[in-house]
């Protein structure tokens, strides 16, 4: 593996440069080619936080401490997942121009799109970090454990890439996968501990802490970013297992169905 990377670098391959170029252009297209682009990326979680804050804190009077930050970190992770899956179902159709005339590896198209989403994610994560440590009165101090967030993001990235590959390749043979996924993902949203109190979530749906691949990522993200403690390693290993399994399924589908994308779409 490392040898291959070095070999690639030595042969002056333009692969990394290309991934970055495609990601940059994708990012620019996504946010209306506006200089304020990054602010648009931030606006989505902010709006969501405002809605859930009113619903759960003001009306339902939830007693979760630092609730705005609690929502913020959960939504930053959730939004990356949604954008990288729902937003890429038709990727083989919209990015057809990239593989229709050359033997470019289709996996690069996915990775560059997810890189583009990562720019938004990292920006939002830094905004969370500033918000939490500057404005949250009950904030815990900065800790080395905060760095675990990078591992969690890697987990989320692999998970999203796997789901994205599966969905977009199924799209080739089933065009209505989009609608089905929309229903599924709103289901998943309410079965994830985004605005629920963790103890009541664990009490009511203990299976889903392990059964829902995104739940563990969000739980661990709060542990490392808000509580300043190490992640729950068992949960982390479990979620990495999920992500890698889905990625493998996705790659198999890409080779089976995706290979025919140029003629079927």
């Amino acid at each position: 593996m490392i040898r291959n990377v070095l070999k690639d670098w030595k042969s002056r391959s333009n692969k990394y440069e290309r991934l970055w170029l495609l990601a940059k252009i994708e990012f620019k297209l996504r946010y209306y080619e506006n200089k304020l682009g990054l602010l648009w990326a931030l606006l989505k979680p902010l709006m969501d936080i405002a809605i859930y804050y009113v619903a759960f804190k003001v009306i339902l009077k939830t007693d979760i401490p630092a609730f705005a930050s609690y929502l913020f970190i959960g939504l930053v992770f959730w939004i990356f997942f949604v954008e990288s899956t729902t937003g890429t179902i038709q990727i083989l159709n919209t990015k057809k121009y990239l593989y229709e005339y050359s033997n470019m590896n289709k996996l690069e198209i996915y990775i560059s799109t997810l890189f583009s989403n990562s720019i938004g994610f990292l920006f939002n994560l830094s905004m969370f970090f500033l918000f939490y440590h500057l404005f949250e009165p009950q904030a815990n101090p900065i800790s080395y454990n905060n760095l675990w967030v990078l591992v969690l993001f890697m987990n989320l990235f692999i998970l999203s890439l796997g789901c994205s590959l599966i969905l977009s390749n199924l799209y080739i043979i089933a065009k209505d996968i989009n609608q089905i996924w929309m229903v599924f993902i709103s289901f998943l949203f309410f079965l994830s501990p985004i605005f629920y109190k963790l103890t009541s979530f664990k009490e009511a749906l203990p299976e889903l802490v392990y059964g829902n691949p995104i739940a563990g990522v969000i739980i661990n993200a709060r542990r490392v970013m808000m509580d300043g403690i190490a992640p729950d390693f068992e949960l982390l290993a479990f979620d990495f297992g999920y992500a890698i399994f889905l990625l493998l399924v996705g790659i198999i589908l890409l080779n089976k169905l995706g290979a025919k994308a140029a003629e079927k779409l």
Partner: protein, 244 residues
Amino acid sequence: MEDTIAIKARNISKTFHISEDSHNTVKHRLFNLFNPPRKKDVEAVKMMNFEINKGECVGLIGRNGCGKSTLVRLLAGVYPTDTGFVNINGTTLLMNLGVGMSHELTARENIYVSASVLGMKIKDVDAIFDRIVGFAELEGFIDTKIKFFSSGMVARLGFSIAVNAGASIMFLDEIFAVGDMKFQEKAIKVFESSWIEGKTVILVSHSMDVIKKYCSRAGYMKHGELIYLGETEKAIQMYLKDNQ
């Protein structure tokens, strides 16, 4: 694979399954579980074997619908083959009325993306950027999205990228039909200059003059079969005979 061979095709074939009604949604599939779609098989490319050497210019001729374009797509790695395999030694570029470009991007972005897909580094694209724009005669429209271009402008841009960036193996499918007369002359001039030197080219054309002039070998196809691959002159004769 030996270093002198650019493309090696072994036992390749391709059949398209064309269904009359579209069963491409989950709903459709569920409601028609016991009513499978009627399928029609079209054998676009029948079993064939051949090798193309590096630096060769090979022509491909045959009547409409004989499978030339499908064969070219198989060789370029755009379509997967049903049987056998194609070994490609290098980057490929398939060109028919332009290369792959996104209408949502500007001319500048398209140039960078296309050239990068063809294996160029950003630094190298910077160096030839002005040449690409100049050749396509698109100065003044560099930062305009190409969806606002006329079809001729898009075609010129595509041609210019292909000419200046290029790939080591190029499949040119009827490329001399691009642009107005002035641009066509320019295109032919490029072709006559050193552009294709050292590159492997597979040229699909209905113009026998073009094939005769540039190709060292030619293949003649009929009903998906590669009937002959060898001397250009002989392939052309077979094609002309078929047209009578």
